[in-house]
């Protein structure tokens, strides 16, 4: 019996591989829109014959997402038995990295957090998903995320995007109303479209209600880099952005006038303040809505709303994860069936989105009527439609292994600069220095990786 399965799988694999290569060839030869239509129209037919036990690994609440979509998956693939091995994000990645290096012990399908994408996409221990047929779906995914999955030498793709986090401002309508400010998202957009507007709104709110406008103003500066495009292809740090000095000046002013609470937005203090109405707004990814609903402020239905990012920052992505299939997996075909159903069908993606608010990176999913629904938690606002609009505007950026470490320097550097009384340029210089210090060895590793890939232009 077991022998038969193995033989079947081997045959299936080779067929699939051939098909994948063929498809890739066709996709390259033909125009792209033809590919899109074909893939979007394609409905997974399932495979009742395939029998396998696969292990899926990740961190919460990914397991809740998969469990929500599992029924639909098993209707198509009744023979595939899925086992979940989930633990916290840090230990999970530690285990995954170790088991990939060791060559055994990895799950058949693994989650990979957005922060690690620049390392994992070059891994030699992960299966090239293009050989399994991933190339067909290229135009179905938000290219911002898809491009991050392709290895630095462009030869393979070992990750596939799951979700994105279109960033928006979450604000409390009750506080805005009390302060005599508009509460309608369009009007709030207009009000906060410049940094001066943000400061004056914050002043009004402080005056009228005593509430802080935001947990820590330094996060406004982080918004400018939220797409994690810190470096160019020669690995030069590019901190100068349109409006960055205005942004920093606004932060300096807000701290002087004590308009921000001066605590990290992820601290327990800030969490308490979101719920009890002492913070009027916070900017974050779409998934933050799920945090608010289930964890931070479950009773807050009706007094939260969502609008564009303040200060003319534009469209940014905050977070989102990927899936991979380790080469050591004995059940690659079944694993790919699982990935394909979960990520490359509207049914799978939307079942998971509704369960845990992971906003799909899969574009055809947005055609579902749920994206036009009003969200009662956000006072009947059509928040999902706003996120879809933002998702479609995201454009690809150049990502590196240093990005996350660089991001980690912003909060501390800006606060250090504010404490030392530096001006806007001074804070920017301080940040540049701190990022250089903190990313030294990572940069060496990144250069090594690029050299190995044969795409390094430096010395």
């Amino acid at each position: 019996m077991k022998n038969k399965v193995t033989r079947y799988m081997a045959a299936g694999m080779s067929v699939l591989m051939a098909a994948g290569m063929l498809n890739a060839g066709i996709a390259m030869a033909e125009s792209t829109e033809a590919g899109t239509e074909a893939a979007a129209a394609e409905q997974l037919t399932g495979d009742p014959d395939i029998k396998a036990d696969i292990v899926v690994g990740g961190w919460p609440s990914g397991d809740d997402a998969f469990k929500a979509a599992l029924e639909g998956f098993n209707a198509l693939y009744p023979g595939i038995n899925v086992e979940f091995q989930f633990t916290d994000t840090t230990s999970y990645h530690q285990n995954l990295a170790t088991s990939l290096a060791a060559g055994s012990g990895a799950p058949d399908v693994g989650m990979v957090e957005g922060a690690y994408v620049a390392q994992y996409r070059n891994s030699t221990a992960l299966t090239d998903l293009n050989t399994l047929g991933a190339a067909d779906y290229k135009d179905d995914f938000v290219s911002f995320k898809w491009d991050q999955c392709v290895s630095d030498d462009g030869s393979k793709m070992v990750l596939i995007p799951w979700d994105i986090g279109p960033a928006t401002l979450f604000y409390r309508t009750d506080i805005f109303e009390q302060a005599g400010l508009p509460t309608d998202p369009d009007e709030v957009d207009k009000l906060l479209s410049t940094w001066d507007g943000v400061v004056s709104a914050a002043e009004t709110i402080k005056d009228k209600t005593g509430a802080w406008f935001t947990p820590d103003a330094s996060y406004y500066y982080q918004l400018l880099f939220q797409n994690r495009d810190y470096y160019d292809e020669d690995l030069n740090l590019k901190l100068e952005r349109d409006g960055d000095i205005d942004c920093l000046n606004a932060i300096i002013k807000m701290r002087e006038e004590q308009l921000d609470m001066n605590v990290d937005m992820w601290s327990t203090e800030a969490y308490a303040a979101y719920a009890d109405g002492t913070i009027a707004s916070v900017a974050s990814g779409a998934w933050f809505g799920g945090f608010l609903k289930t964890d931070i402020d479950p009773e807050g239905a009706g007094h939260w709303a969502v609008c564009h990012l303040p200060g003319g920052v534009g469209v940014k992505n905050w977070g989102g994860s990927f899936l991979c299939i380790p080469s050591q997996s004995q059940n690659q075909e079944a694993a790919w069936d699982f990935v394909k159903y979960m990520l490359c069908t509207a049914e799978g993606q939307n079942a998971m989105f509704q369960a845990v608010d992971y906003f799909p990176a899969y574009i055809p999913a947005y055609d579902d009527p749920i994206y036009d629904e009003e969200d009662p938690y956000f006072g009947g606002e059509k928040t999902k439609a706003l996120w879809v609009e933002l998702a479609k505007q995201l454009t690809p950026v150049y990502t590196t292994q240093m990005d996350v470490t660089a991001e980690g320097q912003i909060f501390t550097s800006v606060n250090q600069g504010l404490q030392e009384g530096l001006d806007a340029e001074g804070i920017r210089d301080l940040l540049a220095k701190n990022i250089d210090d903190a990313t030294k060895e990572l940069k060496e590793q990144q250069i090594q990786t690029l050299k190995d890939a044969g795409v390094w232009n430096g010395d």
Partner: protein, 324 residues
Amino acid sequence: MRKELKKYRVAYMYIAPFFILFAIFGLFPIVYGFYLSFFRWDGMTAMHFIGLENYINIFKDVLFWRALRNTLVIGIIAHIPILLGGLALAFILNSKMVKGQNIFKTIYFMPMVTSAVAISIVFQQMFGNNYGVINYFNVLLGGDKINWLGGDGSLIKWAVIVMFAWKWIGWNMVIYLAGMQGISNDIYEAAQIDGASQTQVMFRICIPLLKPIIIFTVIQSTIGMFNLFTEPFILTNQNWNGGTNNGGLTLMMYLLNKAPQGGTLYGYASAIAYIITMFIVLISVAVNKGTTDKSDPDYIAQQDMKRMRKERRRAERQKGAAKV
């Protein structure tokens, strides 16, 4: 050699399980880590041999020196309450002035066995800027709010020191107490008959006789100091660089930030691990050497034995050479 192996086969088999497990889970990682420290490797792509570059880069990294300085500052300041507080508590509990010794022992030992994460979260709340209980009393007593965990980053160390000391005082106390109970009652009684005061008993009897135990605890808490990670990490909201101005960056955090928890720079992290190990060895040796009492009869006897053995060996060698 072979014959002996055969002769004591059973005995070797009995002790084998430990050595086999140690070889797999202890020795191999230690040796492999040393090997790795000469490579640049992210665990995903090809390994590259780079000689001593990792070690050189570490010594050139300003963050490494900052981490070392923070670790030493935290460790040295915290050792004052740890040593004095531990000794004082142990002495009080041992002097039969208090009842319910066991209850106090348990209470003081509790921080050592409680999860560091749980403790850190509680302390994070206490040191909070706007809602923290410490700032609450500060304002109540007419002071200003102090931004312990933010600000310019210099105050995070104090929060860490408080936690570190609070945790290790109880551990040291229990060990000292055990040591004090090992000191024969005859000595105390003799002192009492001679009319010694409690302070004299403490400084003339207790502490000198406890010296080996004090040295043991100092080495233990020094290792604890180099392993300090969870407390500053949680206090700074899981910031891998120790919060503002790297105020809470410790050596262990610097290591784990590179690999395996905060990143995948395995070679670089291995090199840091070896440097930290060297520090621990150096400090342990220094503590041992620095506290040896040259007038101690035991010490003199030991030195004599060593010298005699050396001489005997030299004599034997000369005899052997003469024969050839």
